[in-house]
Subunit: 190 residues, 2 copies
DNA sequence: ACCTGAACACCGTTCAAGT
DNA sequence: ACCTGAACACCGTTCAAGT
């Protein structure tokens, strides 16, 4: 039944956010649902495809309308929304990046970026290079952020100078890539 | 004894390259060395620090002198060398990226890139943003490549159109980021 | 259709004890 | 200094059997 599978995903997200990816095991999730671990294999072929459903749910919950007109603003809006979506759940960036790398889902951000860059007047291969570069940036940067956030909330003496990466850093790196893309359109950002 | 620890790393690299990261377990490695798994804990505090040593060995084996003069050429040389180093061992990109993310080692590429960008006349925070952006790009791109290579050598009907990412794609994305950095120096590449 | 119970073939890590 | 043996507390997955 479709709604039962979705219940499993909802509970998986609870476990993920409360205890982290390392504790999101089939056995743990079964216990949390009051069910034998083997029962989960009725709804999902294996752990990987459960994680794919979890990743897509993280993205769906973080989805917002992108209102901007200029392609640069659309790209920034999409990347910011993606980062916010990932930061909303513990280990969210790692889950979604892994699922995307294995090609089992999480295609929505790629499609959105490709769509935005298609409105920029780029050659087809620049669209694909730009999309991949942006995705690698957002995933890599956000995994870094989330790793440091957890390290801080654990050991945490709070060396506030070496505090790692900030919102500003994210925006700066994004701008840098955007400038590289804009150069290929023959347009410089104001 | 220092040389015994290095023997463990050497054998770990053999197992990694022959069977992949999933099969690089403490138990498997012990068996391969003719030793109980618990014996490994005399040389390494835990699996993570063993993996850190493996990552550093992958980077050390792939290290080449960087001869270029212009900072752009130095960055390209470093990133290309890094990618080549990672591709030389099965799951090399994932191992090194993970170790780097956890901050347990693999600092050499970051230092090299920071050094190259320091010769470009950038503001301090542009050096750090540029370094991080380049690293995320190389790790992300190379993990993608390696994942697709393995998928191809497994299932592999050889849909040569959908064959994924190439050497050229790597160079193009790198150039794009480099252009974004160059804009911050007030220098456009010829 | 959905779940149980039991099993299979594994993990990382610890620790007293041996040499 | 280096290693063994045994244990602890886990994994993902399969599959006959139940309802």
């Amino acid at each position: 039944m479709a709604y039962r599978a979705h219940d499993v995903v909802t509970r998986a997200l609870d476990v993920l956010d409360a205890h982290g990816l390392a504790d999101l095991t089939m056995r743990r999730l079964g216990k949390e649902l009051g069910v034998q671990p083997s029962a989960l294999y009725h709804h999902f072929a294996n752990k990987q495809s459960l994680l794919a459903a979890v990743a897509d749910e993280i993205l769906a919950r973080g989805a917002r309308p992108v209102e901007a007109e200029r392609w640069q603003d659309r790209v920034v809006a999409i990347c910011t929304m993606l980062r916010d979506s990932l930061l909303a759940y513990r280990d969210g960036a790692e889950v979604v990046a892994t699922v995307h790398a294995f090609g089992l889902g999480a295609t929505q951000p790629r499609d959105a970026l490709t769509g935005a860059l298609s409105g920029a007047g780029l050659r087809a291969d620049d669209i694909s290079v730009g999309t991949r570069t942006l995705l690698h940036y957002v995933y890599g940067h956000t995994i870094d952020e989330q790793t440091h956030l957890q390290a801080d909330s654990a050991g945490a003496l709070g060396d506030d100078a070496a505090a790692g990466v900030t919102d500003r850093d994210f925006a700066n790196g994004l701008e840098l890539i955007l400038d590289g893309i804009a150069l290929r359109v023959g347009v410089t950002q104001a």
